[in-house]
Amino acid sequence: MSKITIPLGPQHPALKEPVNFTLVLEGEQISGSAVNLGYNHRGIEKAAEDRTFLQDIYLIERVCGICSHSHTTCYITCVEELAKAEVPERAKAIRTLVGELERVHSHLLWLGIAGYEMGFETLFMYTWRDREQVLDCLELVSGNRVHYGINTIGGVRRDITPGQKAEILKRVAILEERTKYYVKLGTEEATVLARTRNVGLLPHDVALERGAVGPTARASAVKRDVRKDEPYLIYDKLDFNLITHNTNDVFGRLVVRVLELVESYKIIRQVLDYLPEGPIAVKVPAKIAPGEAVNRYEAPRGEDFHYLKSNGTDKPERVKVRAPTMANYPSVSYMLDGGYLADVPMVIAAIDPCMSCTDRAMVYDNKAGKVRVYGWDELRKYGIEHYKKRGVDFTKL
């Protein structure tokens, strides 16, 4: 059968954010695929360099609208590490609480999108309605539904009152009830099973080899979760399970996420019980001691990674973000190969891609209408040539 190459995206009804996949088709089956990123590049890392550490919190929060707390917490931990600030225990507990509420809202959002992609819109409507409960909790705690702005250097900005605690517990109980239903629905409903079983297979060793993270890896029985591997905040004091599944397919990813919801409810209850008395923030000077720091954080989509370099001023010298979706893309092209065109949206959605997180570090040359990705050597040469034309010679450096 003759091969035909088609583009999927950057604008496509099944994609929520711009990304392009080049698919080689043999009939209905995919025999090759490539991911092209860079449609959502906003230069956040560069912008971070001319803002103060404090202002960067609000910039980094906007790396992603879904896991905004993950990014700020990861970044702020780097800053606090360099400043040698002792974050109060209560602040850590509140950060953990917001982090888990965020995971609940993100997983419920994913479940809805998965329902939508598989053509089961009833599921989409129900999960998104129930998600309002957790969004209300977040508004209650932080003041906003999406960009919580709860973190500040040295602690958190808002405390939790006993009234809020009761309200959160009430809503978590409702969500727990609903999640039990989704566990049943997800594992028994014929539509779900037909669309997700044996779709987008990612065997255990391939997941390891391609460095998959988060629920994508855990659904291939990879025991990988930063909360367990390298506990941050107060995760070492909490009792929860690392959820894995061994079906390696989209169904496994669904099961992992839904069961993680149950674990998150457990964590939220424990954190609210634990909540130690004390201050919620310490003062940290605006100028941060020079040095480098890296940090990992288990975002809803997997391991989030931040690098920070400070030169002793009140602005960072370099901020680098490696979002979980970036780590999962190598696995996507494997998952797509050999599958059917109709399953593509399902497979892509199954890693819960977040383009706004991922697209920050691509270099393109648009000369002559051709898109070209530069390698490091070429990029260096190009840079030297460019400055030579302007009369600056960097060749000797």
Partner: protein, 134 residues
């Protein structure tokens, strides 16, 4: 383990449930007291330190001297220097730039900036997005 029409009873049950959505523009939406909405300004207490301007991540605030200043105090009867009156400041807030983080509210030493629950700020006229608080 596969059960056909697993969601059927749930769907039928919803026929008798209350609506989950609200009739928003006609029914007022309530936000939490902690909600970070439009920033209001009180000129009486502002001392013009511009901490808010320095800290704002979106460059949304401007603090300027008011056009009308309070009259200079009359010299005291015994000839000593008069107590200077506090200068008056205006605040120009760009609602289209503001990201509603409330960092300026946190940092203001005089509590002159207040986070309100006002969130219905969309407008068809760009000029109205620049608010001049006196």
């Amino acid at each position: 383990m596969q059960k056909p029409a697993r969601a059927l009873f749930e769907v039928l049950g919803h026929l008798f449930k209350k609506k989950a959505t609200s009739n928003y523009p006609f029914e007022k939406a309530v936000v939490d007291a902690r909600f970070r909405g439009r920033i209001a300004f009180e000129s009486d207490t502002c001392i013009g330190c511009k901490m808010c301007v320095r800290v704002c991540p979106a460059k949304a605030i401007e603090i300027i001297l008011s056009a009308e200043q309070p009259p200079a105090p009359a010299p005291a009867a015994d000839g000593t220097a008069p107590v200077p009156v506090k200068k008056k400041f205006d605040c120009i807030m760009s609602l289209d730039r503001c990201i509603y983080c409330s960092q300026c509210v946190d940092v203001c030493p005089k509590k002159s900036l207040i986070s309100t629950q006002d969130f219905e700020l969309a407008h068809t006229d760009r000029k109205t997005l620049k608010r001049h608080y006196k």
